[in-house]
């Protein structure tokens, strides 16, 4: 225990130098850090939002909405297939995740089964290997009742898709808001965590995220005059005007062109009024061209999130794939609509579940106070250890200082996020880090008392204390691990510093102090230990 092979000494010194290297950028100004060549450590500790200020939003994706849309589209396909096959049916309705209907003529059951099986029943969920599972299960009974149910795999895959897509849209929308550097992550099954450092007033952000921005172009059903509360004829829906709540339109359900084919949208002025100009991709342009060519003189409705923005009459075919939406916009609403259209539609509405905004001033205060507490705590412990163990206390203090440097270096290297509770974890580490040394020193004292020579006492002290140190630190580590897995945000940061602190303090007590003690022994060859 007292003897060190040369390679161990080299490794210990190397670890300390690396720790110092990785910790150093934290002492420099941003400008100085920027001038560090890239082969040297040049990363500061990553500060959590509670220390640097910023907004944290936890958003819920309304996946039920996605499933409702999904099953509705399955119902449409089923209806279409039955009509194509000239099968008479009744009572087609959606029940949760099932489409249910009854075939009128029981002789048609087999035919229906065949048709559905090769139609909606053949669709599979997308899989890279091609072996995706089926989207729907088809059940039928002898009484002619059919049930087409979404499979668990289809639901899961659609949910994943919806979340991924939502994250993408959120990212684009936040990017449109200026030069913010957001962190966007999926959390759990149906949530998105959005963190925007430096943003102190998330009002506008929330407004921008609160819209689905699903835009579609439809033809208007002119068979009846639309009035509030009326029953829409089959294949049509009654939608309100975007600005005038009392004005309604009968819109054909069929989507002529969808917002997903838009490639650009910009707010501009036309005859002095704010409008939004847009452009389609080639597919959208073709479909838009076809629809407008066939329907000259008829009104064409632009629907956004279930409301009619405008329903202008098509004066001439629009073949270039570009057009203009006018609809009583203000500068602001035109600007926002263009932004939303550019960023694309959310597959489902988002709602904030949790919001935490920390001002930069509080963050700066917290850092300053945390620094004070750490430094004063460190000084107190150092003084106390010096008093309690004299020369050995000083050796432990060297190791404690090295421990702090290693801890800061490790945090910078791993780019772990330092939070306010994380700073508390560092302060706690300062207090607990000397424990390993205390254990060893107490053990050495005991060995000295039982009459051992200095070298043999130190050797035995280290050997016997190590199992205790490992056992006691590992049990603490179990608690820290649980905090890491179950804690959120700032608490995770606490678990991280506590765990890294445990590791570095074990290293510094077992390796660094021991090396110092061993070097001292070799040089002085003391007859008695000053402990």
């Amino acid at each position: 225990m007292v003897h060190f092979p040369r390679w161990q000494i080299v490794l210990i010194i190397l670890a300390c130098v690396l720790g110092l290297g990785f910790a150093t950028p934290n002492l420099l100004s941003d400008k100085q850090v920027a001038s560090i060549p890239s082969f040297l450590p040049h990363k500061k500790i990553n500060l959590g939002l509670d220390l640097q200020g910023g907004a944290h939003l936890l958003l819920q994706v309304d996946v039920d909405y996605v499933f409702r849309e999904y099953i509705a589209s399955i119902a449409d396909s089923v209806r279409g297939e039955l009509r194509e096959g000239r099968i008479r049916f009744a009572g087609l309705r959606v029940e949760s995740r099932t489409v249910r209907f009854r075939v009128r003529n029981t002789a048609d059951i087999e035919k229906t089964r065949e048709r559905l099986r090769s139609g909606v029943g053949s669709a599979t969920t997308g899989s890279l290997l091609g072996g995706g599972s089926r989207e729907v299960e088809i059940e039928s009974g002898g009484d002619g009742v059919f049930r087409v149910t979404l499979t668990e795999a289809a639901i899961r895959s659609r949910q994943d898709q919806a979340i991924e897509q939502s994250i993408e849209v959120v990212r684009r929308r936040v990017d449109e808001l200026g030069t913010l550097e957001p962190i966007i992550q999926r959390q759990g099954d149906d949530r998105i965590l959005l963190q925007v450092p430096g943003l102190e007033d998330p009002e506008r952000l929330k407004r921008i995220l609160g819209k689905t921005a699903k835009m579609t172009f439809h033809l208007v059903d002119q068979s009846e005059v639309a009035r509030k509360g009326m029953r829409a004829p089959p294949g049509a829906m009654l939608l309100p005007d975007d600005t005038d709540e009392n004005q309604f339109y009968l819109i054909k359900r069929r989507v002529e062109v969808g917002g997903e084919d838009l490639v650009d949208a910009q707010p501009t002025l036309q005859d002095g009024l704010p409008v939004v100009s847009f452009r389609f991709n080639s597919r959208g342009a073709r479909r838009f061209g076809n629809t407008t060519r066939r329907n000259v003189g008829k009104p064409f409705a632009i629907v956004l999130d279930g409301k009619v923005i405008s329903a202008p009459v098509i004066r001439e075919p629009i073949l270039g794939g570009a057009g203009i939406i006018s609809g009583g916009f203000t500068n602001q609403t035109a600007g926002d609509l263009a932004l939303l259209l550019r960023a694309g539609a959310l597959p489902a509405p988002l709602s904030p579940l949790e919001e935490r905004t920390v001002g930069a001033s509080l963050g700066t205060d917290s850092i300053r106070k945390g620094e004070y507490a750490s430094v004063i705590g460190l000084v107190l412990v150092i003084v106390f250890m010096g008093i309690a163990y004299g020369r050995f206390g000083i050796m432990a203090n060297v190791a404690l200082t090295a421990n702090m440097i290693l801890l800061l270096g490790a945090l910078s290297l791993l780019q772990a996020t330092l939070t306010l509770p994380g700073i508390a974890g560092i302060v706690l580490t300062i207090g607990m880090a000397v424990d390993a040394n205390v254990l060893i020193f107490e053990r050495i004292r005991e060995e000295v008392r039982s009459g051992r020579t200095p070298i043999s006492a130190i050797d035995a002290g280290y050997r016997r204390a190590i199992t205790t140190i490992v056992d006691s630190n590992l049990t603490t580590f179990i608690a820290a691990l649980m905090l890491f897995f179950f804690g959120s945000g700032p608490i995770k940061g606490f678990a991280v510093t506590l765990s890294i602190g445990l590791a570095t303090s074990m290293f510094s007590a077992i390796m660094i102090t021991r090396l110092i003690v061993s070097l001292w022994l070799r040089r002085k060859r003391p007859a008695a230990l000053p402990i």
Binding site: R204, G335, E355, L362, V434, T468, S472
Partner: protein
């Protein structure tokens, strides 16, 4: 030269007086449970949902009474106010609003309006588009504020050419920012500048600065409670398994009894002092468990060693010896940890004060339970010495004695 807090030949009768400690712990235990259930834990918004705003009054100390009246008039339900650290800082807590997320956002806007000399929340959202002047409309909010007050506030900004005017008929005040504050090199730069200008304008009109705004929905609160409970339960379970694996089942049971004692006493501490129980508290509870088990394991380790060493010594004496032998270490480590944690209480700031206080309590209670509970409890389980003798032989790498 070295200070000895604990004399070498100390021999305190921890084990003999164990019934005193058991009784003391039982009383504390019952008191903690009673306090937790009767007094109730002061749950923060992390767990019960709601809105929390930390604001700093710009002009000197905050007038809580006046603020209470103003906020009480908004009809937002239960509003609690307290100074927070400094006399200028106020912590505002509002119970969760009925209705959806929009209702929460609206409540936050209305509170912010109270502290602004220009109430803008009731008006149309301000319009800003690139290259056009930005217009902010609102009502004069407080007694004694006039257009001049607004102009004065605006003049303090580093924005030039900002004008304020008042419409005589509607009484609405209109602040116009010149277009250069909403324009930049490209769309996002322009929006960035607009946001900056508006944030600083809003800041100038406010009588407070917002240091923190938090909203937690009820659903998230429930989940946070559940994950907190799981974390504590699994940590206890993990510790139990580890101690079982490294020692014997008797040790692991004793350790869990001591840990449960520490955790419940910590809950009681929070309930009795009405400290806020939030996510950080769960972290504190687990840290206390970690610290306490650390202490316990050190003493257990010595018990195990002495069981091997003194094959004939009666168990109570052996345990007492183990406690006393490690007492110096226990006290020293507790002192250094307390020093560090006290530095955190005094200097760490208000945001983590409750957390730090809990740690102080935890260090004291954890040390106590390791010495006075965990080890004496071992006596009541049938410890078999032969298991340890065998382990020792294996540990030394020798063939077992034949």
């Amino acid at each position: 030269m070295a200070l000895k807090l604990v004399p070498d030949d100390i021999n305190l009768a921890f084990v003999r007086h164990r019934r005193v400690y058991f009784a003391l712990s039982a009383v504390l235990f019952v008191a903690a449970i009673a306090s937790t259930f009767l007094q109730g834990l002061n749950f923060g918004i992390d767990f019960k949902g709601g809105i929390l705003i930390e604001a700093r009054n710009k002009s000197g100390n905050a007038d809580l009474a006046a603020m209470r009246t103003q906020l009480g008039g908004l009809g937002l339900g239960e509003v609690s106010l307290q100074t927070f650290g400094e006399p200028t800082d106020v912590l505002i807590r509002i119970e969760k609003q009925s209705g959806d997320e929009q209702a929460q956002a609206a409540a936050i806007r209305r509170i912010k309006d109270v502290f602004s000399i220009l109430a803008t929340a009731t008006e149309e959202e301000p319009k800003f588009i690139r290259g056009q002047p930005m217009v902010l409309k609102g009502k004069l909010n407080r007694q004694g504020t006039t257009l001049a007050t607004i102009e004065e506030a605006v003049a303090k900004l580093s924005l030039t050419g900002v004008t304020a005017s008042r419409d005589a008929a509607s009484g609405l005040v209109q602040i116009v920012l010149p277009p250069q504050y909403g324009d930049g090199d490209g769309e996002s730069a322009a929006i960035d500048k607009q946001n900056q200008a508006l944030t600083s304008l809003r800041g100038a009109l406010s009588t407070v600065t917002y240091r923190r705004t938090e909203f937690v929905g009820p659903q998230v609160g429930e989940e946070l409670i559940m994950s907190g409970i799981w974390a504590v339960v699994l940590a206890l379970f993990g510790i139990m398994l580890y101690v079982w694996f490294r020692f014997e089942w008797q040790f692991s049971v004793a350790a869990i009894v001591a840990l449960t004692h520490d955790i419940l006493l910590t809950l009681g501490f929070f309930a009795e002092l009405e400290l806020e129980f939030n996510l950080a508290t769960v972290a504190a509870v687990l840290t206390i468990a970690g610290y306490s088990i650390n202490d316990t394991v050190v003493v257990f380790d010595r018990v195990r060693e002495n069981l091997r060493k003194y094959k004939k010594m009666p168990l109570p004496e052996l345990m007492n010896k183990s406690i006393n032998e490690t007492l110096s270490r226990t006290v020293l480590t507790s002192v250094t940890t307390l020093l560090a944690v006290l530095a955190l209480v005094v200097l760490g700031g208000q945001v983590i004060r409750d957390f730090s206080l809990a740690l102080v309590w935890g260090v004291v209670i954890g040390t106590y339970s390791s010495i006075c509970l965990a080890v004496p409890i071992l006596l009541y389980f049938n410890l078999r010495r032969d298991t340890f003798a065998e382990t020792e032989a294996e540990a030394e790498g020798r063939a077992p004695a034949e």
